[in-house]
Symmetry: C2
Subunit: 155 residues, 2 copies
DNA sequence: CCAATATAGTTTGACTTACAAACTATATTG
DNA sequence: CAATATAGTTTGTAAGTCAAACTATATTGG
């Protein structure tokens, strides 16, 4: 073994230019790292990151409608419509027409949905602990607050 | 005007459950907010966020090859191959075979690429200043450092 | 030297996520 | 009741991603 190889990539150190001083760039790097790690959770539960947060919101707010979810997540309503359809097909959520206003659906978790959400939540908490390991005391709260402010900066 | 409407979405406050205490969730929210805002930059320069960071890296490291970019950005080499093809078609970069090892391409910005990058960089700096407006003194450096540590947590 | 193996990069196919526009259906109000 | 607004669906399109099979070039043990 061990034939036909060369130094792993570049011998010279790479110049990141200003890239690493951009919050936009670093936020993307962090976010894609988290998502790559989430693949493990997806394997075990069948839930993608987006599905996980939708189920969490529906679980905590039974009877919530799609348009509310749309504003919370800043997605297009057509995008959400497809996501909801998939969750219905997987029988993780169910819905019925609002009796007072037939334009709305009231969304709820199914028994199976609540179960899957519970499993996924445990794994997500684990993932969060892994992140905590890289943070000092108090930094988590600070980070969350800064991220919240950043999101609001572009409203 | 003003007919057939109702309260904007949900009257009751929404329960975010644990969602807002998850770094994973908040990082995604912040990142998508930044990307939505980047649309303005894309309109003016024709560059997507991914193209911007590729051009920045190529600009700062003339002669860099694709496999190095792949490891820096954690993408699949096939994904990068397509991105490079598009940048070539737009004539923002050019490449020539490494004379010592014909498997490598040496990538460089074209004159046009350097120009577009310069324009986009100015707009990105502006975007960063907008984020700074939500941060207190010293927080930017702290945030960048935490994001860097998070990325490394999942290596 | 050359066969075997490793590496750089491309092509193709599939999948995911997203948005926009046109549509259906229901509700409100002048 | 006609006009308008809102909730949600369908369809088309595009970007971004990965994986596998492929081409081409390079290295090295025997």
């Amino acid at each position: 073994m061990a034939r036909g190889r060369k130094p792993p990539t570049q011998a010279d150190p790479v110049d990141f230019a200003g890239l690493r001083s951009y919050i936009g760039y670093m936020a993307r790097q962090a976010q894609t790292a988290v998502f790559r790690d989430f693949a493990r959770i997806t394997e075990e539960t069948g839930l993608t990151p987006g599905e996980f947060s939708l189920l969490t919101l529906i679980g905590a707010n039974p009877g919530i409608n799609q348009i509310t979810l749309v504003t919370l997540h800043n997605l297009d309503k057509s995008t959400l419509s497809l996501a909801i359809r998939d969750l219905m097909r997987q029988e993780l959520i169910e819905r019925k027409k609002d009796s007072r206003d037939g334009r709305y659906y009231a969304l709820r978790l199914t028994r199976q949905g609540a179960l899957q959400l519970e499993k996924a939540t445990a794994l997500v908490e684990e993932q969060e602990r892994k992140m905590d390991a890289t943070l000092k005391a108090g930094e988590r709260a600070q980070l969350l607050d800064m991220l919240r402010r950043l999101s609001k900066a572009f409203d």
